[in-house]
């Protein structure tokens, strides 16, 4: 079974919530990223989203875009990302997802992408600009290889569209509780709770909330009605501020541990 699906199931069985951390590939270096992944697992992170840097990340705010630019300046490629994940698989079973933009995966080749992901041990994709109807072939290839495709649903997504998204998402549903991009402030409240209740009435797939989750309090509050939270900008920002520190992986892990409810 897919590592992500398995992990989400296990958490649900124990009544625990998922905490998913986003970091950028090769940022500030591959050595740091690989040991950060191991450290994050140690402090209880449930899965890692690894950002695939793209030149035009329209769904990301300035913090993540700047990190992507630094990674690109280092010459990171998708192929290299697959290779590095393949290597780290000898040391960890932590679910790893790739988050990026469709053009890079399309250019790499749909089939090659899924095959390489499968053999490297990538558990799923989050493709910010690939809605469920845009490329049925890719979604089918992923299903055939038991690779998850995590789709986003937004605050204003109408119910008929929610159903289409739910049918194509796997692993979990990435719920964006407000209009906005990564790095914005969170406005959690009753509206979010109602939306989650609506989605729950339509599916058993776990629901994780991302975009705008910045503090332990946010995570705690959202965890009351969702199955987990995703934190990205805060972590990427922290790592950048601490760059150059020899114990960056440990520092990052301690920082993330503080965010986990």
């Amino acid at each position: 079974m897919n590592r992500l699906v398995q992990r989400m199931k296990k958490l649900k069985g124990k009544g625990d919530k998922a905490f998913i951390a986003y970091i950028m590939a090769a940022e500030p270096s591959w050595e740091a990223v690989l040991s950060i992944i191991l450290e994050l697992e140690r402090v209880g992170v449930s899965a890692v989203e690894l950002g695939v840097p793209f030149s035009d990340p329209i769904a990301d705010g300035p913090v993540i875009q700047a990190a992507a630019n630094r990674a690109l300046a280092r010459g990171v490629t998708l192929n290299e990302i697959f290779d590095r994940i393949g290597a780290i698989r000898e040391q960890t079973d932590l679910p790893i997802l790739l988050m990026g933009y469709w053009n890079m995966f399309l250019k790499y080749g749909r089939e090659r992408c899924i095959e390489t992901a499968h053999s490297a041990g990538v558990d799923g994709f989050i493709i910010a600009d690939l809605p469920p109807e845009a490329d049925p072939v890719f979604f089918q290839l992923a299903r055939d290889r038991d690779v998850c495709t995590v789709l986003l649903a937004a605050e204003l997504t109408p119910e008929d569209r929610l159903k289409r998204i739910i049918a194509a998402t796997s692993g979990f549903l990435y719920y964006v509780p407000q209009a906005g991009i990564t790095g914005l402030e969170l406005k959690a409240g009753e509206a979010v709770e109602q939306r989650i209740r609506l989605i729950r009435s339509l599916t058993d797939t776990p629901i994780c909330i991302g975009i705008g989750v910045k503090t332990r309090e946010d995570a705690q509050k959202l965890g009351r009605y969702a199955d987990g939270v995703i934190v990205g900008t805060r972590i990427v920002e922290f790592m950048h501020n601490q760059e150059g520190k020899p114990d960056l992986p440990q520092r990052t892990a301690r920082f993330v541990a503080e965010l986990i409810p």
Binding site: F54, S55, D56, P57, I58, A59, G61, P62, Q65, N69, L72, T77, L78, W102, N103, M104, F105, L106, K107, Y108, A128, D129, L130, P131, E133, A134, P136, L151, L152, A153, A154, E155, L156, T157, P158, R161, I165, V176, A179, G180, I181, L184
Partner: protein, 421 residues
């Protein structure tokens, strides 16, 4: 595909187009699509649009016979579709008038836009002022420097110009920022896209509001010549002025359609924006299109002397017209464009926008190949006042001043690397 069949307006042009956007934008695109589908059927809306074109924009624009240019080039008769005579000085306002009426119809109170050369930004700020709506324009820092006059104009029109410092600091990055703003402000904000790019339904909406160019040109050439032209030529980046001219002639097979991209320093160098000539298929800003990108799918930086042609993608309908063979696409270098800019000024008393000068450079080659009974319509998409500083700098750095330049190396047969078509 099922999803396509459900659409009220087709979302693809052959293989190209579509809606590759973050889910947060999707509800806004769906609302826009259904509102536009109803506006398109509403005679009241169309009447209102046409009335603004006439009373505010100053349409119809003339189709001017360029007698001295025709004589100098020694071939086909050259007509200029005078989009430079629109209010604000370019074709862009045809579209912004239409879209702001759509925004009002949808009850939006805030307008955002991206701009490259500044012409679309000015055209958006203008109609926002006309209707008393808040307006924010995103513009790359490099473009702001190249087009400082337009930045000043937008300020006078009470628009806020937000400098974009990310990426290559040009049009593509301004679009990224406008998308981010839109995602965060969907409820009250309308995004006026400036060209026939972006996710469906923008390529269709912008084209429909630019079709007036070709509709008028067709009537005008029939009145003057009693027949259709042999060629229509227009510059292409996103492609809105070109598709606006071409669309009316798509079903007239005797009319050749030629789009001209920016070859910058030459297509044998890395500094160009010749997307249809050298690009490969990709997905960018919501659409499947030809794209200048590297082997990993990262979008290439582009170069053109003209800020309005400096975009690495191209409208999906042009991609389809290229693949179907209905239109052909070439490119002109910075050097060829500047020479055409000077030549039109000297021979016809018209300063063309540097964008439109690319179309003229191509027209010169085409005219010379055609007989004297041939007819060419060139879309003079905008006026060149905004480009004077840029041209003057170019001439200085190439050891010319404007008085002697047309006799210089740029004048006669230019060997430039801009390929023929």
């Amino acid at each position: 595909m099922k999803a396509q069949a459900e659409k009220q307006i087709p979302g693809y042009f052959g293989d190209f187009g579509g809606q590759y956007v973050p889910e947060m934008i999707m509800p806004a695109l769906q609302q826009l699509e259904s509102e536009y589908a109803s506006a398109r059927r509403d005679p009241g809306f169309q009447e209102q649009y046409e009335s603004y074109l006439k009373e505010y924009d100053g349409r119809p624009t003339p189709l001017t016979f360029a007698a001295r240019l025709t004589e100098a080039w020694g071939g086909a008769k050259v007509y200029l579709k005078r989009e430079d005579l629109n209010h604000t000085g370019a074709h862009k306002i045809n579209n912004t008038v239409g879209q702001i009426l759509l925004a009002r119809r949808m009850g939006k109170v805030r307008i955002i836009a991206e701009t490259g050369a500044g012409q679309h930004g000015v055209a958006t700020a203008t109609v926002a002022a006309l209707f008393g709506m808040e307006c924010v324009v995103y513009m790359g820092e490099e473009d702001m420097e190249r087009q400082s006059l337009n930045v000043f104009r937008m300020g006078l029109l009470a628009a806020e110009v937000v400098p974009v410092e990310s990426g290559s600091r040009t049009l593509k990055d301004a679009i990224n920022e406008a998308f981010r703003d839109w995602v965060a402000n969907l409820r009250n904000t309308y995004y006026i896209f400036g060209s026939t790019v972006g996710p469906h339904p923008y390529p269709t909406i912008v084209r429909d509001f630019q079709r007036v160019i070709g509709r008028e040109a067709k009537q005008q050439i029939l009145a003057k010549e009693g027949r259709l032209p042999d060629l229509c030529i227009a510059c292409v980046n996103g492609g809105s002025n070109a598709i606006g001219l071409f669309h009316e002639f798509l079903n007239d097979p005797e009319v050749g359609l030629v789009g001209v991209e920016a070859a910058g320093d030459g297509i044998d160098t890395p500094r160009h924006a010749a997307t249809l000539t050298l690009g490969t298929r990709g997905v960018f800003h919501g659409s499947h299109m030809y794209l200048l990108q590297d082997d990993d799918g990262q979008v290439h930086p582009t170069h053109s002397i003209s800020a309005g042609l400096d975009y690495p993608g191209v409208g999906p309908e042009h991609c389809h017209l290229k693949d179907s063979g209905r239109a052909r696409y070439g490119c002109a270098t910075d050097r060829e464009a500047v020479a055409a800019f000077q030549e039109l000024a000297r021979l016809e008393g018209i300063l063309p926008a540097l964008e439109s000068a690319h179309a003229l450079a191509q027209a010169k080659k085409e005219a010379a190949r055609m007989g004297r009974d041939g007819i060419i319509i060139v879309n003079l998409s905008g006026r060149g006042d905004k480009d004077c500083r840029q041209v003057s700098r170019y001439l200085e750095s190439h050891g010319q001043n404007s008085a002697e330049s047309t006799r210089g190396p740029d004048g006669a047969e230019s060997p430039g690397a801009g390929g023929g078509v």
